[in-house]
């Protein structure tokens, strides 16, 4: 088992190739639900949860169903359907058996179906040629990166709230400018992870 390799995958998915801030996946929830810390946390926990489950299901489907039957071109259709069905299923199961978790994550689950970060991570796992364990680690790292970006950004936005902003920048524009600066800070991680284990 290559722990070092897995750690590199985990950390680079979370920091260097951060899904929101450098790959631009999942911008909608990033801008929409990051206003308050609680909702940012709830949303990102739901994303981590769905990403892990989606990877655990789509990876075997790709490797044991699509590839042996030469149906790789169906990847997009199959993945989006599986994710959509899965999210519904998870919601029903949570509601029935773990109502406490459903209460905190439930409201965010339907919003995740059409979240490009989830579909993105499942496709990227296949494209990068990861094995099952690496895929799961990559999904976890991506989810954690999303969590980090959301939590950091909700802090930034709460500071923005009281500040005096030019009229035409109020609302979305200033949020995007703040996102640019947050994203700038993540550029600093480039090259750090590889050298960490050298």
């Amino acid at each position: 088992m290559d722990i070092k390799g897995l750690l590199i995958i985990l950390l680079s998915a979370a920091f260097i190739n951060n899904y929101v801030l450098s790959r631009f996946l999942g911008i909608c929830p990033f801008l929409g639900v990051s206003k308050k810390l609680d909702s940012a946390t709830g949303m990102s926990l739901a994303v981590i949860f769905v990403m892990l489950i989606a990877t655990a299901v789509t990876w075997p489907i790709q490797m044991y169903l699509l590839v042996p039957n030469h149906l790789e071109y169906l990847q997009t259709i199959v993945f989006i359907l599986v994710i959509a069905a899965l999210v519904q299923l998870v919601e029903i199961v949570l509601k029935r058996y773990i109502p406490a978790l459903h209460k905190s994550l439930g409201v965010y689950l339907p919003l995740i179906t059409t979240n490009c970060a989830v579909l993105g991570v499942t496709i990227l796992n296949i494209d990068s040629g990861y094995d099952f364990l690496q895929s799961m680690v990559n999904s976890l790292g991506s989810g954690l990166g999303f969590f980090l970006a959301m939590v950091m950004f909700s802090g930034v936005r709460s500071t923005l709230e009281g500040s005096d902003i030019p009229k035409s920048f109020k609302g979305l524009p200033i949020t995007l400018i703040a996102a640019a600066i947050t994203s700038l800070s993540f550029l600093g991680f480039g090259g750090v992870i590889e050298n960490l284990f050298a």
């Binding site: 801030l21 450098s22 790959r23 631009f24 996946l25 999942g26 911008i27 909608c28 801008l31 929409g32 639900v33 206003k35 308050k36 609680d38 909702s39 949303m43 071109y73 169906l74 990847q75 997009t76 259709i77 989006i80 359907l81 959509a84 439930g106 409201v107 965010y108 689950l109 339907p110 919003l111 179906t113 059409t114 979240n115 490009c116 579909l119 993105g120 496709i123 990227l124 494209d127 030019p166 009229k167 035409s168 920048f169 109020k170 609302g171 979305l172 524009p173 200033i174 949020t175 995007l176 400018i177 996102a179 640019a180 600066i181 994203s183 700038l184 993540f186 550029l187």
Partner: protein, 227 residues
């Protein structure tokens, strides 16, 4: 509403990117070069056109309760077709767009137009609407890509521009530049746009999926956000 108005509303008045703020992910990600932006715009327009026509034609056949899954399957089918065509005839574009090509499936604009327009209107009107929205998407993407490529890379369409290519601001082609330019463009629209921005903020109310993804959840999130 006549055909021309139907077409032109997507370009300026209801521009999907700059006014409705939909499809932000591909906008930010593929606007680093003008050629990539045009390719993305064209691919999304083709998918939007096909899905709008088919969904409009099938609007009386698809049961209301399962319409969203039906739309997603149709859209995913067209995306797969476009993906295969691009891979076969424009491998360079496939390389540039990468993961964002299959991700057209989850582009809000396409599902949004299906939900807001195609399932209520005739086939021809839906096709015109799709062309207008697709053109508006491409226009906004190209505008952003022009700014980012000219100032960030000193080139336009890969051709280098004399003075700018020696003094380029490379940060504009990187991730932060995308957010920054997009923010500036929306601020410009707010400033010079004819009508006041309807949306003060970004939330579920702007998302066309809000009705379909079970609005209760959106409302709950919004309440939590505004509370």
């Amino acid at each position: 509403m006549n055909t021309l108005q139907n077409f032109s509303k997507g370009l300026i008045k209801e521009n999907p990117v700059l006014v409705l703020v939909l499809g932000t992910c591909p906008t930010l990600a593929t606007s680093t070069s003008v050629s990539g932006a045009l390719g993305m715009g064209a691919a999304a327009t083709v998918v939007l056109l096909c899905s709008n026509i088919v969904i409009s034609a099938l609007r009386k056949v698809i049961p209301d309760k399962v319409r969203i899954p039906c739309y997603i399957v149709l859209i995913a089918g067209f995306v797969t077709m476009v993906q295969m065509l691009v891979k076969a005839f424009a491998p360079a574009l496939d390389e540039t767009l990468g993961i964002y090509l299959p991700l057209i499936v989850v582009n809000c604009i396409i599902l949004g137009r299906a939900e807001m327009f195609a399932n209520k209107n005739k086939v021809f009107d839906s096709a015109v609407d799709a062309l207008g929205m697709g053109a508006g998407f491409t226009l906004a993407l190209t505008l952003m890509a022009t700014i980012r490529e000219v100032f960030g890379n000193g080139t336009f369409f890969g051709i280098s521009i004399p003075i700018l290519s020696d003094n380029h601001i490379s940060i504009l082609t990187m991730a932060p530049g995308g957010f920054f330019v997009f923010g500036l463009l929306i601020a410009a629209v707010n400033k010079w746009g004819k009508h006041k921005p309807k949306k003060k903020d970004f939330g579920c109310e702007g998302c066309p999926n809000a009705d379909s993804c079970s609005q209760k959840s959106c409302e709950a999130v919004n309440q939590e956000v505004t509370a």
